[in-house]
């Protein structure tokens, strides 16, 4: 096997290798990790951040960033819970929540694509507006739910697979297909790689970008719906800092913040690494302060490892 090919393959599976290492280390350190209960816990815990990260990954690949996803989670949670309380119907509640996220994403996308103002600023503003609106509407009070069917969506499971986990798998398959197998996906990569060249090549940059941010908003509101079901209440205080977790998952998964690079499956591995690590540190009874340090080190190690292999690929080339 020639060297370049070896490193190409290594790069593809680098994050997966890191995940395996964490899992193997856990296997030796505690017998609590590989239990049905715990694995199904981890599955449920990672699925929300993972779904959120899919949208973030698309945005990052397109060369942007979306800081409003956390607030969209909170807002759609409130919309979903209040409509569910007043109507008792799941479908209109979920539809309204998804429409909220899609709408905010659409506004983000149009503003970013049309004005050319940095996505960082636009989404930071919309984030602040959304979280303010959530507080105005709820007076910071959570909305408790007693709808059993809806609760199942977040807390139930099919055999040993929790529903949020199944939902996550569906989302990943769909969006991986969208990004890898369609023209749209290739355009998103192209825009992130070189926006000017994309315009010259006749790609409708404004339209593609708007769709990317809309989808990101939609996935954020889906995440909000799942959280609402999981907590069995609409909680105004959730969502804070979730954008950072989503960005972290995408970056561990190989996404580059300068755009054009990254992948949906890589992000899944990234989200699993974060989730497994959190779970592992809790199982090992590591104090919260140390957890932050360890998480930081692992993220750094993952990114350095990826970078190390990437330079190998280029130098062997």
């Amino acid at each position: 096997m020639d060297k370049r090919r070896f490193w190409m393959i290594a790069r593809k599976y680098a994050t997966f290798v890191i995940l395996c290492i964490i899992v193997i280390v856990m296997f030796f350190l505690t017998d609590r990790f590989f239990t049905f209960n715990n694995l199904s816990n981890v599955g449920r815990q990672i699925s929300m951040n993972a779904i959120l990260s899919v949208g973030m990954t698309m945005v990052i690949i397109s060369g942007g960033i979306d800081l409003s996803v956390g607030s969209i989670v909170a807002m759609s949670s409130i919309v979903c819970a209040s409509i569910l309380t007043s109507t008792g119907q799941i479908i209109p509640a979920v539809a309204a929540a998804l429409a909220t996220g899609l709408g905010i994403g659409l506004i983000n996308g149009i503003l970013i694509a049309k004005t050319g103002i940095a996505p960082f600023i636009i989404t930071l503003s919309s984030s602040s507006i959304c979280s303010g609106m959530v507080l105005v509407v709820t007076m910071a009070r959570p909305i408790p739910l007693s709808h059993d069917g809806f609760k199942q969506l977040g807390q139930g499971s099919l055999w040993i697979l929790p529903y949020p986990f199944l939902l996550m798998i569906i989302i990943f398959v769909m969006f991986a297909a969208l990004m890898n197998k369609t023209k749209f996906g290739r355009y998103v990569y192209a825009i992130g790689g070189n926006e000017k060249a994309s315009i010259v090549a006749g790609i409708q940059v404004v339209r593609i970008k708007t769709v990317v941010y809309s989808l990101c908003g939609l996935l954020a509101s889906l995440t909000g719906v799942v959280y609402t079901a999981r907590l069995s209440s609409g909680v105004p205080s959730i969502g804070e800092g979730y954008e950072m977790q989503a960005i972290t998952a995408a970056v561990i998964g190989g996404a580059s913040l300068s755009g054009g690079r990254g992948g949906i499956w890589g992000t899944l591995i990234g989200a699993i690494i974060i989730g497994v690590l959190n779970n592992a540190l809790n199982l090992l009874q590591v104090n919260s302060y140390y957890q932050n340090i360890v998480t930081g080190i692992v993220v750094l190690a993952a990114v350095l490892f990826d970078r190390f292999i990437q330079t190998r690929v280029s130098s062997e080339g």
Partner: protein, 352 residues
């Protein structure tokens, strides 16, 4: 090629050893362990289980809203003290003020097979799903501070927030000679403890016809916010006699704003909690008083009650904690009052 392979292997090894290192060394620093390695085996040993005296090694998980706040750090120290005395293993986690994170932590506690779980919830509605999961797993749940809105709670340990506010109002009224104008700094809008403190405070003041609350403003228990709210108040009102803040952080922020205006001698500031910094401020005269609600004792009680339950003792559903106002007169006793956990101080046993 070989050397590069070696590089990869080294990289992998470094990562692995980093993780392994965290696993094996941190628990000793971070959690209180009598017998870190033997603990699981002891539980499986039937002869030990039959004698659940002081020697039984229990595992207790405790999740609190955050560990970046002096109140919760004090609570952690109190809980650790109780755990150490009773020879149990305590895992204390902070939830970054995010209820979903706390739910995960409780789920992890359940996977871990904790003998008891103590929860101080960020959100009393959102945490219910975690409480019911623990109930289903047959693990007793205790809570400190606000009680979750559902699920089975073995024992709820809390300060009566209404009483805290009432204490504060009464103390200020008496200090001012039952006549004066007050600014109230509330906690987080819509939060139950904030509401209750505020209600208690208002009702205490209502008993004094010559006392007037000029304004009630939320400052989110945050020092910087309280400082700017107070700056605005000082601009708005010419005559302010006292400030009542629902926690010490806000009281310190307000006191700083007042000091910057050179009005420290005119305005009496009272806080709530009894943090170390507040006590120092009382001794310097920056704060007039603070209503002590010691987190240290709260953490201690939670572990004490949990262990009593695990040892087969029956415990009450509710424990009311004591407030104590600390001012210049009892300041030298403050440390003793706020960390009073030796056997003669176990006042909560009277509530059994």
């Amino acid at each position: 090629m070989k050397r590069k392979l070696l590089n990869v292997v080294l990289c992998v090894a470094v990562t692995a050893s980093m993780l392994a290192g965290c696993g094996s060394s941190n628990p000793q620093d971070a959690t209180v362990k009598e017998a870190p390695e033997e603990a699981p085996e002891i539980q499986e040993d039937e002869t030990v289980q039959q004698a659940p005296e002081e020697s039984a090694a229990y595992n207790i998980g405790y999740t609190c809203p955050t560990l970046n706040n002096p109140f919760f750090v004090g609570m952690m120290e109190g809980a650790q003290k109780a755990a150490q005395e009773r020879g149990i293993t305590l895992t204390m986690l902070g939830g970054d003020n995010d209820v979903t994170k706390q739910v995960q932590q409780v789920e992890d506690f359940i996977s871990q097979g904790m003998d008891a779980i103590v929860i101080q919830a960020v959100d009393t509605t959102g945490i219910v799903t975690a409480v019911t999961q623990a109930n289903d797993a047959g693990i007793p749940v205790l809570t400190t501070a606000e009680t979750p809105t559902g699920g089975d709670i073995l024992c709820a340990i809390s300060f009566d927030s209404y009483e805290s506010g009432f204490n504060g109002g009464t103390y200020i009224a008496q200090t001012l000679g039952e006549k004066g104008k007050i600014i109230e700094l509330q906690g987080v809008m819509g939060q139950e403890t904030s509401r209750e403190k505020s209600r208690g405070f208002a009702e205490a003041i209502a008993d004094y016809p010559d006392m007037e609350i000029l304004a009630s403003q939320p400052a989110d228990y945050d020092r910087a916010k309280a400082m700017s709210v107070m700056e605005n108040m000082l601009q708005t009102f010419d005559e302010i006699d006292a400030v009542y803040a629902a926690n010490d952080e806000m009281a310190l922020g307000a006191a700083q704003a007042i000091e910057a205006m050179g009005k420290s001698s005119e305005i009496f500031v009272m806080g709530n909690d009894g943090t170390d910094e507040a006590l120092e401020a009382v001794s310097e005269g920056m704060l007039g008083a603070t209503n002590g609600t010691p987190g240290y004792i709260q953490g201690y009680i939670a572990i004490d009650i949990a262990v009593r339950h695990l040892n087969g003792e029956s415990v009450p559903k509710v424990i009311n904690e004591k407030n104590t106002v600390i001012d210049k007169t009892n300041l030298d006793q403050a440390d003793k009052i706020l960390k009073a956990v030796s056997e003669e101080d176990w006042y909560w046993l009277d509530q059994f």
